[in-house]
Subunit: 413 residues, 3 copies
């Protein structure tokens, strides 16, 4: 990742990303001295209210260091940041991400997988790897001590909630939990989501929201003056799942460019595989196989999108052949609720593509099996002991990704 590409992509992407920020992981007090130049009207991050005040040296010699840099205009920003970047490198600090300096990352909210480009993904993954080291040195870190996260769940999702709450607590933060957030806006009382958010933002420093309506997370984020993370909004997005999936591939395979991925199971309804396909299109030379029962095939919008991005894809009905070629076989659950009365169709679809010992036999040595969990019998239990069964490690990676996002949203890069 180069900092200039990160900042310019943040600029072009825009909507859900603040217009600027302080990217340079500055540890040198001389550099900190210049922090004020990021804080002029119009370029303020929405979270600047949370910024810790940084003690600044009044040494005139230090002031000279950056004396040629003037407050940037909107248009100048990418260029300026490129300048800063060079300064960072010249100060020898740019390659050392700092976890103690309270400078803001440019991330304001986490709403949908599409908001992340390749550079931001890399930056998040870099922090996630740092989080792995923190978590392994349990009993925990304290970098988020005093921060409060509200888990505002309009429908229960214990797995996702516990993962976020563990992430917050592993970093020393605290949690306000509600799994019956519907009560806030019950039919009887009829409060709007916006009013609820305005109340909750008075109690917490960050909101993690699960909602039953697509688009709810975006509405919450545009209302809130504190960061909002979308923990799933109905048929819409579940961006932290998408992030942990890509992170897991990188951790397991060691790269994202040039990989071959088989997406298996319910490809029509699974938002997981749809988001994953979308994110994989950001990488070079990716090949995707779709292996799905006829009734739940991958839809055309994703296929067209992949084609437009130059991603090679192919449909197949031969799981064994696909498994023998892939770096990653991403299995998913056939969701019974999609079949309503047609139990016969469900049973037929469900039994069609099972990852079992025979699949593992043809799977390459370096390849892995992934699954977003929970699973039924689409992966047989005897596969669990195989080191290539990556799905529980994948679930654990969700912890690191969420730790990284909480750190980035509350403390910055």
């Amino acid at each position: 990742m180069t900092l200039s590409s990160l900042s310019s992509s943040a600029m072009s992407n825009g909507m859900l990303v603040s217009k600027t920020g302080s990217f340079c992981p500055i540890k040198d007090p001389r550099a900190l001295h210049q922090e004020s130049m990021f804080s002029y009207p119009g370029l303020l991050s929405k979270h600047s209210v949370l910024s810790k005040s940084l003690s600044v040296s009044a040494n005139p010699a230090n002031q000279q260091l950056f004396s040629t840099i003037k407050p940037p205009s909107m248009e100048q920003t990418p260029k300026l940041l490129s300048m800063i970047e060079r300064r960072c490198y010249s100060l020898g600090t740019a390659k050392q991400p700092s976890f103690s300096v309270g400078v803001k990352f440019q991330l304001d909210d986490v709403i949908e997988a599409q908001q992340f480009d390749r550079d931001i993904l890399n930056a998040i993954f870099e922090v996630a790897r740092e989080m792995e080291r923190i978590e392994k040195n349990s009993p925990g870190s304290q970098i988020l001590k005093g921060y409060l996260m509200a888990t505002l769940f309009y429908e229960p999702s214990t797995r996702t909630r516990l993962s976020f709450e563990s992430a917050m607590k592993r970093l020393g933060g605290e949690v306000l939990t509600t799994e019956n957030a519907r009560e806030f806006s019950s039919a009887a009382k009829g409060e709007t989501l916006e009013d609820t958010i305005r109340t909750v933002e008075g109690y917490a420093d960050i909101i993690v929201m699960r909602h039953f309506e697509s688009g709810a997370a975006r509405r919450a984020a545009s209302t809130a003056s504190i960061p909002v993370i979308n923990a799933g909004d109905g048929p819409g997005q579940h961006p932290t799942q998408a992030l942990l999936d890509v992170y897991t591939i990188e951790r397991e395979i060691g790269k994202l460019d040039g990989i071959t991925v088989g997406l298996v199971g319910d490809l029509a309804n699974g938002r997981t595989v749809r988001s994953l396909a979308y994110l994989l299109a950001k990488y070079q030379d990716v090949k995707i196989y779709f292996v799905a029962p006829d009734v739940v095939k991958m839809k055309d919008d994703i296929k067209d999108y992949l084609t437009s991005k130059g991603v090679a894809w192919e449909e197949s009905s031969d799981l064994m052949e696909v498994a023998s070629k892939c770096d990653v076989v991403y299995q998913t659950r056939i969701q019974r609720e999609r079949f309503s009365e047609r139990v016969d169709l469900y049973e037929e679809a469900r039994g069609k593509y099972i990852v079992d010992a025979s699949v593992m036999k043809v799977l390459q040595k370096h390849a892995v099996i992934m699954h977003p969990l929970p699973r039924l019998d689409e992966i047989t239990v005897d596969v669990d002991g195989d080191p290539r069964a990556a799905y529980f490690r994948q679930a654990k990676n969700g912890l690191y990704i969420r730790m990284a996002l909480l750190k980035l949203l509350l403390l910055g890069w």
Copy 2:
């Protein structure tokens, strides 16, 4: 506030207030030395068990300082406290409320709005303002570190619960949460509230209770050896809402004497407006307007009470005229559940008095709109952007009031 009036009112009020306490915010070790005189049998606060042991100077010179003061009898207490007060002033400490000294405030429980007189209200508000400063310097304070609050909710009230839990955690305290406390005393098992309290008081340092039965909070408080805060007991009381309402008026208008308040909406059923009217009667030269649809007019008991206290009040059906005269327009939601089958009456009542742009046009520049939330459409959304729309600030003030109460009940003044 003078300390003597505080103590004498505490004396006359009595029931829910401990019989004495240490009011003098003593920081001088010479003064602390005398703490023992507050701790003789019969005058012990119920929370004295929580008192931190205070290190006491054994300097004989200091002992002489208060040598003329003998352990007070019940009747002597106000006078004694007045003496102490003078000592405090002479020590130059009486105006500096201390947040580190573990001396008990005289507050044992928070059960109903009526338990607070003007001086206690002022004392609570003073601490609440201190809490505003603490919260703004997030990530949080640690004054309640190690203390445990049990939120014992017999019916869900996410808004109130989150507010209390945020308050506790903002001060470094911890929370045990239950929103299904009915399970404790389910019909099948039939445990009494008293037995439940005796169990829970073994697990926590303070209980915040929401119950569906009027009077439940008082029963809990009389059983518990730890402080109890009433977070609403059915049609009964919700004293922390009443406190935050009065606090908000003082913060927004700058005074409580001589104000004009319009209470609008469901005045028959809303316990909020009833408690607010009750508390406003404690201040001088208050004028109250009642603006309510016919079916939900303010009841005679409150009107009679106001009259007996010399508070001027008037009923009106002209919201515009009232709005033009008031410092505070307190709007409330018409509660549909009160109309059962008569949806026609509900719809008629509901649409009658709406705070919208036209009301804001006649509202004085310094005046504010308040609302206990949640709102439906009795305040239109376009009002939200007006700086005189105080209802979200009001909700936030609930946090400060609850922080103040937790601090006062657990650590004392």
Copy 3:
């Protein structure tokens, strides 16, 4: 307790207890130096991953101290431990249980009352008494700071949950709560308990599980790589209740050998009294009276077990006579749900044996009344004020026992 007997019993008991561990409460750095000898393959505690790395002196002189001790084989372990024990005593540390040294106790999971022998019970009780002192010095200890406990409750049990969560937080630990864990494995999604455990163990350091199926706790424990505590598994076990009952008897009566205990009420269905009878059989010269309505008499399996262990027992229908002879009268609730349609039988059974003022009159001065709570009217409220009414102290003891278990499982002895 001698350490050698503790270790040898751990060996013979086996199944739920790790094969070895570090028992010596070593504070001397010379002794710590030898910790590595406990960490070779095959003797690793399942929790050794959590072990804090201990800084070890490289002083060759210290290495000589234990130079004659070689890595033990399985068979040598008891003997070795006996040797270590002597060393501990010679170092003058064996009698000082240390709460700061991260050495593991041999306890891996808490699954059923039968797993504890007399020595382990004594060890747990010793730590529980230490916990009483910690809790009394509220605001809390911090020995479990940074540790995360997941309360995975497949059925709600607010009392038990709050007790565990209070225990964890009193020691500075943090909690992830779920009371709707069934959602993890809902019929629709169909995840196995094993998969759920593999996910949750990635988020927490210890799991406290309540389940509706007998045997679920054992399955969870055999899957998890982190400690599991059974907080009740259906009609199966509730071992922490059994522990707190025995602990309470010891605290109240001062001994466990030679006591006389009356078990009263629903002896057929109450797992509490069945577990208690089982544990009492581990002590010398215990006499048990069973006082139960005909329909809910103690079953033969327990009677036979007691007989086989040489415990004297007797059935009686005269509560007054039994009460006059006992050290402990353990009253239980008649569970209505066991009688289905036969309300008449329930009412008859229920009213038969009531502990009231007349029973208290014949009860010996040193004796106590116990009850697992919640109670209905099988103990009348007027008994509560009698100092021999021990049931609320008993509930409080649950806190200490759970603090002790959390400490032992996470930090070791």
